[in-house]
Amino acid sequence: MRRRSSYSTRPVGIDQAVHRSSTLDPPRRPRRLFTLISLLALALAAPLLVVLTAPLHAQAPEWVHVRRVILPDHLAGTLELLGGVLAIALVLAVPSAWLVATCDFPLRRMMRWALVMPLALPTYISAFTYAALLGPTGPVSNWLADHAGFRPDIVDMQGLWFVLALVLFPYIYLPARAAFASGMSGQLDAARMLGASAVPRFRRIALPLARPAIAGGALLVAMETLNDYGAVKYYGVRTLTTGIFRSWAGLYDLGSALRLGIVLVLLVALLLWIERRARRGARQETDQVPVARVRLQGWRAAAATGWCLLVFGMAAMLPIGSILDDVRVTWDGTMHGQLPHALWNTSAVAAVAGLVTLVIAVLFTFRERYGRRSDPAIRLADLGYVIPGAVIAIGVMSLAGFIDRRQWLDGALIGSMGVLVYAFSVRFLAVGKQPLQGALRQQSTALDEAARMLGASPWRSFRRVNLPLLGPALIAAAMLVAIDVIKELPLTLILRPFNFDTLSTKAYELARIEQLREASWPSLMIVICGLVPVLLLERMLERRARSLGGR
């Protein structure tokens, strides 16, 4: 009995619930442990509850204006941005994933990891870099204006579609590639034997079978798009997130800003619902036979390599090359002295937050595996990922502030490392849980049953049987959280202790005062820090794919 669905190898995303393992009904459930876990989940869901209950406790003096003017305008902008980014990300991700998974062509092996590289780039850094290069006064536009009388300008809504899609498409590429690579080889072989050519095979067999994986990835792209503030503001695009800041900073009305946050949550709930529908009816139990790759010849091989190189060049080489060039130009600048400190802080906070979030995620997945019903507090805590960081920060500050204002503690909680790490766990819990859930789903419940029959308590069974088998997924979970913490900006900026710079706050501070070239130093280090886990993860997935293929 194999419960595995191949697309669940994707490292991030939210896809529990629909095909949760049928759980055991143990005679003796660990009540106390479950209660503790519920309390922990409530603690993580609390900032979200503060935001969602804003209409009850926060006055919104400007709400009439926000509802009549800002909301419709910014909601329309949000939908336009979402539609464009998703469409382009799908076009970039799905064909690339299909080619890499099912075909052999020159440079295919390099493309496996090369196409994941954009994940290491924070969207705001990419957006500034593209704008400097291809914006209205960038070198490309200036040259074209001089020689062709035409000045392209990507700093607008359509340009932002491309910029965000280029950074975010790996979220779709990874799960789609995994889905194409294994899990549908039987159907594809049958179609081939029945004489179907490549295009119908892709369109009629592969695409519908990979739909749940693609939908899961698309959901992540949508959430990242909804969260973005820096890029969106710079490109002059109005979204719900900029609306939140317009109400907060411009109208001095935090209450209305939080209400817009609720609208954002509702929009995400709608997207989650759509994604679940896209999964419904999809066959979950799939074979594990890796697909036999087709060797492409002649122009087909050239076209495949060309396409992948184009995507890789646009999404990774262009921004990274541009950052490297800025580093070269500002080589003798004053940046060097401040960076080791920021690098150390970044690594430390990413490691601690990664580990803490991992422990919490393990406990929650244990609860989901061995509990009879799902815990609503855990499902609520999962939503932290979809709320913009600055809004989470308001929730966290309200909670910690409640304690601070009463002076129950010696020092302020806000601005302590503990609260910062807590905020990261709130925000990135879902990121850490995803790989664990995916890997657990591949473990047959027969294992649990055997352990239980031998008299092990649920926790002991989980710890001795399930946990050791999770191996690589544990590393993946901690790493994915760490990458996100390294890239994260608003939470760090608002909640950090005194004199605590990280690479992303450093990059932001320089970009804010419009010293984009100097910002290339911390940006480059963020990319390098992010690349390490991205590449390790890719290697791990590859090794696992190979070991499966060897069976």
């Binding site: 607008d156 503001k233 002059g236 302590s416 004199n499 605590f500």
Partner: protein
């Protein structure tokens, strides 16, 4: 309970994280002043270093954006470690006063050095530097005598010529708030509509981007902050040569009151624990030494008379600042945002 360690482990990590050594790169000293600042400039660090050298008081710093910092200060309440709040917008200082986050300081040195329109009448906050909202124009095509007032830019002759960033930014908001304070709502709305009618392109990018766009002939007049002009002139990047060569500056007049300025300013926090140190830092920030660094290092206009402004800016002429009571910027900021929405200035 046997499961306790697995639950306690993360909690223990959290507690361990609260150890002071993890808080900061530098050890926390005996005599300190804790600063929340919205200013991200490198010259500020030099100023703080100068203060530490002179007084032995160590400066602990958190930098974040204005509204986040105000919210944090408010939430921390009586337990806030913040002694001195520094922001780069008078509106937010006014807001902090309204929310009772600052405490009044009566200090004869500060009152003697800082002109009265650049500080709070009750002593809650003090202006440290000014930045003016000015016009940068293309010397190759524009006759600056046609650009004497902010209102001039709404005339039909500038159709398709005006460059400006989005109304998301506080510098646009405070300019319009000042107009509301001086001329009333209708006149301010008419001005915003007039600018929208004359735009060369949709509002976007930073102030520097507007200056670069002049260099490339995308538009011929930009509404920008003075210190970005100073920074551009100081910059040696050859890619910016066209902009540097093309730009002239007008200090537009607002209805006979002078050019609109906003300030960077500071106020002592309501629950400051290190009051004397905070006041000492405030006094140092208006010393000749610090004011000169603000001017040279960051191209801002010093509030202290007699401190020379940066060479790059001096070349463009003299600033006659509007003497509007800056508390008005807080009063009218929300109104200004609504007018931008009404005018279609995104």
């Amino acid at each position: 309970m046997r499961n306790a360690p697995s639950i306690l482990a993360p909690l223990m990590v959290l507690v361990a994280c609260n150890a002071p050594e993890f808080h900061s790169g530098k050890p926390l000293r005996e005599r300190v002043v804790n600063v929340y600042s919205h200013r991200h400039y490198e010259s500020d660090q030099q100023i703080f270093d100068g203060f530490t050298k002179r007084t032995g008081i160590h400066v602990n710093l958190v930098m974040a954006d204005d509204d986040e910092i105000l919210t944090r200060l408010q939430q921390e309440g009586a337990n806030s470690p913040c002694d001195l709040l520094i922001t780069s917008d008078a509106g937010r200082l006014g807001l902090a006063k309204r929310r009772d986050l600052l405490r009044p300081i009566h200090d004869s040195l500060l009152e003697a050095v800082i002109p009265s329109h650049l500080r709070d009448a009750d002593g809650n906050w003090f202006g440290l530097t000014m930045r003016a909202r000015v016009f940068a124009y293309d010397k190759r095509t524009v006759d600056p005598s046609h650009l004497r007032t902010y209102a001039d830019l709404t005339k039909p002759e500038w159709k398709g010529q005006v460059l400006v960033r989005t109304s998301e930014h506080v510098y646009n908001q405070s300019l319009l708030a000042a107009m509301i304070a001086h001329e009333g709502r209708d006149s301010a709305l008419a001005w915003a509509k007039g600018i929208v009618a004359n735009l060369a392109r949709e509002p976007k990018g930073s102030d520097t981007d507007q200056l670069l766009a002049i260099g490339e002939g995308i538009g011929s007049v930009a509404i920008v902050n003075s210190y970005y002009i100073g920074k551009l002139m100081k910059n040696t990047d050859p890619a910016r040569d066209p902009a540097r060569a093309a730009i002239g500056v007008v200090f537009p007049d607002l209805d006979g009151h002078g050019t609109h300025v906003n300030i960077s300013g500071a106020g002592v926090a309501r629950h400051a624990e290190h009051m004397p140190e905070a006041v000492a830092l405030l006094e140092y920030l208006v010393s000749d030494e610090a004011q000169a660094l603000f001017a040279e290092g960051n191209e801002e206009y010093p509030v202290k008379a007699g401190v020379p402004i940066a060479r790059e800016l001096a070349a463009f002429g003299t600033l006659t600042p509007d003497t509007l009571d800056l508390q008005a910027l807080a009063t009218y900021n929300a109104e200004a945002v609504k007018l931008f929405d009404a005018a279609g200035w995104h």
